[in-house]
Amino acid sequence: MLRELTYAEAIREALRNALIKNPKVFLIGEDIGAYGGAFKITNGFLEEFGSERIRDTPISEAAIVGAAIGAALMGLKPIAEIMYMDFIPICLEQLANQAAKIRFMSGGKLKVPIIVRTQYSLGRAHGAQHSQFIPAWFLQVPGLKVALPSTPYDAKGLFNQALKEENPVLYIECSLLYRVKGPVPEEDYIIPFGKADVKKEGDDVTIVAISRMVHEALAAAKILEEKGLSIEVIDPRTIQPLDIETIVNSVKKTGRVIIAEDDHKTGGVGAEITASIIENAFDYLDAPITRVASPDIPIPFSPQLELEYMPNKDKIIQAVNSLLKG
């Protein structure tokens, strides 16, 4: 049955179902218990599942991920929460050097099927240390998978796939999306990793959009369509693995592409997608690939400046217009 759930409710439902169905699943993180999670995703879980399964930790990001790794090596399915993506660098060693490499270094003897959930809070005036979005850092970490749901439907489906993964998964939520509503089936469906979603079909321009930018791209497409343009919006949903085929097929059709993302332009996910398009579809391009991303400066606190800083639908429209003029 299809109901409307918020993005936050969809994640919460996926987590709760996992806890109910699989006794090997447990959650570990800061303030996920009595406090209910910094974003209230796990509210009420402590009462429902108890403190062994909803494990409140001290402020120890490296040990949270390390403990998840150790438990996973013993056959459990830990879901760790790192409150803000900005804190991932503190546990980056455990995530990138340990979780992602253990299978390889052990010659395939060991597996680390952990999920690390985190979120980025760009757009909420949280300042430079609480808003950062750094997904591209993980593109250079073989062994790790990275999911970036943009809708409630994708949030639940991707999470269910993450649960089945035998690899470590970094599951990056966007806190500005927590209250976005959308249809979510009641049953436990799965969205496979590495399968981009064409959020909207179109013929003139392809917009590859990541996480929050999917919504900005769709809003931009609507406005542009009123002017007679047909826009295709593609959401890769996972950047590792990245479904370059769907993107390339779209570029072959439209000949024009814009990549919209919240991360910094330099070395962002868009840079990787750009390179892959050039490798695979250079001859089909009718215009330069254009990236709409955050500038290479830390995120300003001032809400007005932050708004100026953020990529949005207007910047996408501008990019499309200059693409077509060029």
Partner: protein, 335 residues
């Protein structure tokens, strides 16, 4: 809450250790020593082994003492200086040697190398991390799983004196302490982290005092005496199995060689080295066991021959083993 455990060799036989176990301990220590001598030879003289190799020369009593206190089902996590841990845990010499050669028959199919040789979950040697301190949080997670599954297994994690100054160590020990997890924290204080002296890196009289900050017991033990290490580990294990949490063992020992095989260790004062050579754990343990009539000089000779023969076979095996094909590598990245 810091105590010291010492034992006089006269009392070795009063502790409930069988003669077989004592003999096993000596043999294992000899095996590790001969193995390291062979590695040094293959590396320096023959150039058959490359890459970093951190020898366990002089520290044999720690691995052997700890491992002999563990039981079936208990696990260890090792670090970059893991040849001794691997052998103590019963990983066959030839697998360890083949890993040093980067061969497909090695413990990690040649993808781990010297710093990860001690990865053999089937033999209770779960994992080895070459990032200093980083195995400790992982051990805490293993212990968390033991507790979650309501088993009474324990995990011993080995790390050096340098590791007690890393963030990972502190976060992890604190976590193990607040949740009373069954972790045996084995600090192998060989007095140096590469060239950094432990006493300069820590403003405490002993590293065991680190335990005080976490409300857990700390034990100082002679790391050159396998029996003292065994006793201390046994005490820590008993506590851990009862759900009383982790213990920090500071095993005071000495790295008789450089940090890595290529390191001449010129920063060590000559008198210091000479003093520790007199405390060689193998020479002393052998002498003690002979004096206690547990074995004879000629038994020791026989072991020596056996080990050397096995070692030659291991080298032969490693040399003849194939390497993985490059195409296969991608199969080990994702499951």
């Amino acid at each position: 809450m810091i105590k010291e455990i010492t034992i006089s060799p006269k009392d070795y036989l009063k502790l409930g250790l069988t003669r077989d176990k004592l003999v096993w301990m000596l043999k294992k220590m000899m095996e590790i020593r001969f193995f390291e001598e062979k590695v040094e030879e293959l590396y320096l003289m023959k150039g058959l082994i490359t890459g970093p190799a951190h020898l366990y020369f002089g520290e044999e009593a720690v691995a052997v003492g700890v491992v002999s206190a563990l039981e079936e089902g208990d696990l260890i996590i090792s670090n970059h200086r893991g040849h001794g841990h691997a052998l103590a845990k019963g990983i066959p010499m030839k697998e360890v040697m083949a890993e040093l050669f980067g061969k497909a028959t090695g413990t990690c199919k040649g993808l781990g190398g010297s710093m990860h040789v001690a990865i053999s979950p089937e033999r209770g040697s779960l994992f080895a991390s070459a990032i200093v301190g980083s195995g400790v949080p992982i051990a805490v997670g293993v212990a968390l799983a033991f507790k979650y599954e309501k088993s009474d297994r324990v995990i011993a994690v080995f790390f050096g004196d340098g590791a007690v100054n890393t963030g990972a160590f502190h976060e992890a020990v604190n976590m193990a302490a607040i949740w009373n997890l069954p972790v045996i924290l084995v600090c192998e204080n060989n007095m140096y982290a590469i060239g950094m002296k432990a006493e300069k890196a820590v403003a405490l009289k002993s590293l065991a005092e680190r335990a005080l900050g976490y409300g857990i017991p700390g034990i100082i033990v002679d790391g050159n005496d396998p029996i003292a290490v065994w006793l201390a580990t046994k005490e820590a294990i008993e506590k851990a199995r009862k759900g009383e949490g982790p213990t920090l063992l500071e095993c005071k020992t000495y790295r008789l060689k450089g940090h890595g095989i290529y390191d001449q260790a010129k920063y060590r004062p000559k008198e210091e080295v000479e003093a520790w050579l007199k405390k060689d754990p193998i020479i002393n343990f052998k002498k003690n066991l002979i004096e206690l009539n547990v074995l004879s000089e000629s038994d020791v000779k026989t072991f020596e021959e056996e080990i050397k023969r096995e070692l030659d076979e291991a080298v032969n095996f490693a040399q003849k083993s194939p390497i993985l094909s490059f195409e296969e590598l991608k199969n080990y990245v994702y499951a």
